[in-house]
């Protein structure tokens, strides 16, 4: 029982990081942009929030928890959205190849993040270990009483607020995409931009907005990772990149429906951490367990392509740029 709770807890925390990445990318892909820069964007979000609160915490005696949260969220979201803007400019306005631009963004974001993450200490004049304890504590504040309410409390309520925020965003996004006029128009852009254009929808604007906001949301995954998962520190170990690719995989796994990310992300967490709770595994076979999320994703990809069920496919115009005079 203890073990099960521990597995669920670690899966939820792990899953939340990729859930943000996944929902943001879902929004982006719904507009027809395949942004393979998710890892880079999550890096940008993570490092910016860290830098933001790092200077804030150093500047004041007693950091205000609310302000800490705001600074972290806004700087993280903002930097990630800027990454999305760069991607949008290159792919939408300049019509650069989406795959190559996305991969470059990943290299760039990882460079920026690890450069500043590694040199923050030096740039700030050598303060030793980078740590934003006040902010991290604010991020990890749990719901009082409920979180101690037996196993259920520990399984469901013993997390920082961003776990619940992710679920909320996933639900809101689904509602937006499926139930609103704006969502309908956005999906049309990803499916068939020529038709959307003919119906008077501003394709370029829709794509820009979806990609930038999507990138911002993906960036929150980086914020959560830095502030909560590794408790307000920085490590140049490339784990954000790994999580970023898992987020891309999750988009496929959820068949481009953000509500599926809620359970999908946790399932990925369970699959990823399961090895820890299965007795008598050698360390080598533990590694094999970690590729389960990817294998499951590949299976989903294959099954959806052989079944040819249109609702489960990627948006029809995913990865292609749109030029009105191309007919």
């Amino acid at each position: 029982m203890e073990q099960l709770i521990a597995l669920i807890k670690s899966s939820v925390v792990f899953g939340t990081v990729i859930m943000y990445g996944c929902i943001g990318e879902t929004l982006t892909e719904k507009s027809g942009n395949l942004n393979l820069g998710v890892p880079g964007i999550m890096y940008l979000g993570g490092i910016s929030s860290l830098i933001g609160v790092f200077f804030y915490e150093r500047a004041v005696e007693t950091p205000n928890a609310i302000l800490c949260l705001l600074i972290a969220l806004i700087s993280g979201f903002g930097a990630a959205a800027l990454g999305g803007l760069l991607y949008s400019f290159l792919t939408i306005t300049l019509r650069a190849n989406q795959n190559v631009t996305g991969l470059t963004l990943t290299i760039f974001g990882s460079g920026i993040a690890n450069f500043f993450g590694g040199s923050l200490n030096k740039l700030a004049g050598g303060v030793g270990q980078i740590s934003v304890s006040a902010t991290s504590a604010a991020f990890r504040t749990q719901i009082p009483f409920l979180s101690e309410w037996g196993p259920i409390g520990r399984m469901l309520f013993s997390y920082g607020f961003m776990v619940y925020l992710a679920i909320a965003i996933a639900v809101i996004m689904h509602w937006y995409l499926m139930r609103t006029r704006g969502g309908l128009n956005l999906r049309a852009v990803g499916e068939n931009p020529a038709t959307a254009d003919a119906m008077g929808i501003n394709v370029t604007r829709k794509k820009y907005l979806a990609t930038c906001i999507g990138a911002g949301i993906s960036g929150l995954g980086g914020v959560y990772y830095v502030m909560d998962y590794i408790k307000g520190t920085w490590a140049n170990d490339g784990s954000i990149e790994k999580l970023g690719w898992l987020a891309v995989a999750l988009v496929i796994f959820t068949t481009w429906k953000s509500v599926n990310a809620i359970w999908g992300a946790y399932l990925f967490g369970v699959l990823y951490w399961m090895y820890f709770y299965i007795p008598n595994l050698t360390r080598s076979s533990q590694e094999l367990f970690k590729c389960l999320p990817y294998i499951v994703t590949i299976l989903v990809l294959i099954i959806s392509s052989t079944r040819k069920k249109k609702e489960q496919q990627a948006p029809a115009h995913l990865g292609l740029s749109y030029f009105r005079e191309d007919r």
Binding site: L36, I112, S305
Partner: protein, 374 residues
């Protein structure tokens, strides 16, 4: 029907028109200009961060990459790695098949090589060992790439996403093998394989440790150039990449070409894994490919499959990488600066493609004398 002549009242301030074509010199001039601007931007960035004279910084980058023969050889070795993978990707991209799985194909090839070294090293004669290593790495890489290709050919499964996912399966398999072959126990790494006997290591040629890498990869480059340009297979790849309809008209079996080309593409990536393990690191880890599988995608794409440009491009990126590591250690910065510079340069070159494919027309530029921005 053409919509080129739009009534004046409707014409926006700037509009873009697809170019019919552009001369090669002009295209490369545009790329050159963008590369130059990228270097200027990087210089500004370096200056802002370090307050150092960017020219001095660039010269110490030069120092870092080519300052000593040893450094030159390491730069050369890494250039060859990147080039080898790019060469592998070229035919797939030319066919418009998005093989994003090079990272995994390299790793699998590397794992196969390491396995041969570990299990066969010292037990079979060296030529046999090498033959087995080459075969094992190429075949395993090819299999890794054929899986998505088969699904693409049969069910049109999205190859971009499929090959991307295959990377991570390969990474975990590599982790598995690393744990399996751990040496010494508990170190969580394989360590240098056969450090004393050097079984399965590339031999030195003329006393140069990495000369064989250069020979093999340059040989492959020439072969690939010839393959794409002068052979029937290469011709088929071009036609399939241009239009499947034309391929059908010419009687080319699109499926067969996809499968064969992907086998070759990923086979070469597997071979790159062999070079990385047997010819460079003499060990295997998840970092054996070190993101080059992704960088090579950019190299192959931006070089437009031109072999000479691929060589130069690979060299440029490795040069930047080595140089940045040097300035990082010299000025106490962080070596990830190289990824930032790399990113900026690639963004610029990516953006420049727009001016090669499209031209801008300004409204008041007159009807006949349409101003071109290039």
């Amino acid at each position: 029907m053409s919509t080129q002549s739009v009534h004046v009242e409707r014409e926006p301030l700037v509009r873009m028109v697809k170019r019919d074509g552009i001369s090669n010199q002009k295209a490369w001039l545009i790329r050159g200009i963008s590369l130059g601007s990228a270097l200027v931007v990087c210089a500004l960035l370096i200056f802002m961060l370090t307050k150092l004279n960017p020219l001095k910084v660039y010269s110490s980058m030069f120092e870092g990459a080519l300052g000593t023969p040893r450094r030159t050889w390491v730069t050369l070795r890494d250039t060859m790695m990147l080039l080898c993978i790019s060469i592998g990707l070229a035919p797939a991209f030319k066919m418009r098949f998005w093989n994003i799985g090079a990272e995994g194909q390299v790793l699998i090839g590397g794992v196969a090589t390491a396995a041969c070294m570990i299990y066969l090293g010292g037990k079979v004669p060296t030529p046999v060992l090498f033959l087995v290593m080459v075969l094992a790495s190429t075949l395993s890489g090819a299999v890794w790439g054929l899986v998505p290709a088969i699904f693409k050919a049969k069910w049109n499964t999205n190859e971009t996403l499929f090959t991307l996912m295959m990377n991570y399966v390969a990474i975990q398999i590599t982790s598995y093998c690393v744990a399996l072959w751990e040496n010494p126990f508990g170190s969580n790494s394989v360590g240098i394989i056969h450090p004393n006997t050097e079984w399965g290591w590339f031999p030195k040629i003329f006393g140069q440790q990495y000369l064989l890498n250069v020979i093999i990869v340059m040989g492959l480059t020439v072969a690939m150039y010839v393959y794409l340009k002068y052979t029937k297979h290469g011709y088929e790849i071009s036609v399939v990449g241009e239009s499947e309809n034309t391929a059908r008209y010419a009687g080319i079996s699109v499926r067969k070409v996809i499968l064969r080309t992907m086998a070759i593409s990923s086979g070469i990536c597997g071979l790159a894994g062999f070079i990385a393990v047997s010819g460079a690191s003499h060990t295997i880890s998840v970092n054996t490919a070190d993101g080059r599988g992704f960088t090579a995608i950019i190299v192959a794409w931006l070089s437009k499959f031109n072999a000479v440009v691929m060589v130069l491009f690979s060299f440029l990126l490795v040069f930047l990488d080595k140089g940045a590591v040097e300035i990082a250690s010299k000025y106490g910065l962080n070596e990830y600066a190289s990824e930032i510079i790399e990113g900026i340069i690639l963004f610029f070159i990516l953006g420049s493609e727009f001016f090669i494919n499209y031209r801008l027309i300004f409204r008041h530029a007159g009807k006949k004398d349409k101003k071109e921005v290039a």
